[in-house]
Structure formats: structure tokens, C-alpha cells
């Protein structure tokens, strides 16, 4: 390949424009709505004998949103076999990660402040689940390890 050809090819890449969703996200950050009392809801459903498909839903009461948070306060309970539930207060810019049986199945950037509700229903058998929250610098902020045995 000649230098001119390479130069031309290198210059042929168009600039990629930011999607308008970025405006909405930043706007929500700069002008946050009043803190909500009602918890967000995040539901993971783990299926198949080995791993895993995950259905991920998240509500703030009114609108479906694509971001969420975690924090220090943890309320957790394993009420019935195979079932886990927790509520965590989270803040903007955190990253919430979910690792199930050694596989990272969720890595989400939180873009709204509020309470995150996490709920798992697992398939029968033993499951090892880690919920990890990092702040925007990648520092570990919160980790919860949950062992679930489901009948």
C-alpha cells in the first residue's frame, strides 16, 4: 500500500455524533427531579440449568429509566429458598454490577439518584451471586455476596 492510499483511508472515517439521549441524561443529572420516595424496582430472573438469561426491569414509579444506583445502607433478606431481595440507596455515577455463578450478567451505569430494589428468583440448585457497586472512579463502594439454594 502506498503512503497516499493509507493517508486517504485514515482520513476517510467520519466523525460519529453523540446521540440525543446523551442530552437527556445530562439534563437529568444537572436538573434532577425531587428525590423519590417510592423505590425503584429491579428484577433479575435467572433461568436455565447452567446460566443464565436475565430479565432486567427498572422503574421509578412513572417512567422506565435506564440507570440506577446503590449505597451503604443495605437491607437484605433471604426469605424463601431461591429468593433474594434487597433495597439499596444509590447515587448518581455509580456502576452496579451483578455477577452470578462467576459470570458477569449486568454492568449498569447509574444515572438517577434513588432507592434500588433488587430481587432474584433463581432456578433450582445452588447459586453464588455478587452484587458490587463501584463509584465513578472505579473504587469499590459496596459488595454483597449472596448464596442461594433453591429447591
Amino acid at each position: 500500500m502506498e503512503d497516499k492510499e493509507l493517508e486517504k483511508l485514515l482520513k476517510s472515517f467520519d466523525k460519529v455524533k453523540a446521540p440525543s439521549e446523551l442530552d437527556n441524561r445530562l439534563l437529568a443529572y444537572l436538573h434532577p427531579k425531587k428525590k423519590k420516595k417510592a423505590p425503584f424496582s429491579l428484577v433479575y430472573v435467572v433461568g436455565s440449568a447452567f446460566l443464565l438469561f436475565v430479565i432486567f426491569r427498572f422503574f421509578n414509579g412513572k417512567n422506565s429509566v435506564s440507570q440506577f444506583l446503590f449505597s451503604d445502607e443495605l437491607y437484605a433478606a433471604v426469605s424463601v429458598p431461591g429468593y433474594f431481595e434487597t433495597e439499596i440507596e444509590v447515587s448518581y455515577g455509580d456502576r452496579a454490577r451483578l455477577i452470578m455463578d462467576g459470570v458477569e450478567v449486568q454492568d449498569t451505569l447509574i444515572t438517577e439518584e434513588g432507592i434500588l430494589h433488587v430481587e432474584f428468583n433463581t432456578t433450582p440448585g445452588f447459586h453464588y451471586i455478587i452484587i458490587r457497586v463501584e463509584d465513578m472512579n472505579g473504587e469499590e463502594k459496596y459488595t454483597k455476596v449472596v448464596d442461594i439454594y433453591s429447591l
Binding site: M1, L9, K15, V16, K17, A18, L22, L109, M136
Partner: protein, 159 residues
Amino acid sequence: MDFEKIYKKYKDDIYNYVFWRIYSEEDALDITQDIFIKIYKGLPKFKGESSLKTWIFAIARNTVINYVTRRRIKEEDIESYFQEKSTYKEVEMKIKLLLAMEKLAIEHREILKLYYFDGFSYKEIAKLLGIKPGTVKSRLNRAKLSLKEKLGGGDIYGR
């Protein structure tokens, strides 16, 4: 300094910077958002020791490095982006070029993208990377030579 003005001025440049390093529109959106939050939070501490553009892109660079450290770029990432476009020869060549770039040494890949994809000047690259402008020029030349080697012989269409 007005954050919203900064955002309007640099949002496309930052998104473009992020995208051409990770090849995922979805992740580029998350990372760009993350970068602007850092800029917003860091703005009161910015003392003008470097240019604003250098400072902003230093944040972007660190954020992308952090991401790439955790998630390696795969060939499929590049190919899947272009699959949505077309299968013309030019697109195939672009894929080939990007794959070759990903095989370069980090400093070569970085300088090529800063110059050709982000439109930085030698001086701007020098400030961002903390090297001399003369070094930028020589490193860029070495990077192009290395890229040609990776692309192999023949013309750009592999003929």
C-alpha cells in the same frame, strides 16, 4: 466556566473519541456520560494549568483506558459496527484497517487515532500525552509504517 457551553462544544468530539476506541455505540454513550459527569464535578477545581481541551480529553482518555482495561476490544466489536452499514469494498477496507490498528502498540494506535480520527494538531497531541511536538511527528510516522506492515503487501484492496 459554563458547563453547558462546554458540553455543547465537546459532546460530539468526546463521543467520537470514545466510540473509535471501543466500537460500541451503547457503551460509548455510557462512557461519554460518565466523562461529562467527571468534567462537571471537576470543573470547579480546574485551574487552567493546561488548556480546557487538553484537560477534558485527559479525563476522556483516562476513562476509556479504565474501560478498555476491564473489557478488551474484540474483532467482532469492529465488524458488528460495520455490518449495519454495507459490504462495499471501502467498508471492508475500513474494517481491515481498524483490525490492523488494534494490533499496533498502544502508543502507535493512540497517536494515529488522535491525529486522524479526532483531528488533533501535533501541539495538542503533545500536550495531551505529555511529549514534545517533534516526538509526535516521529511517532506518527513510525505508527504509519507499523500499520503498513500489519496491513501487509498489495494495495488497500489486497490485490
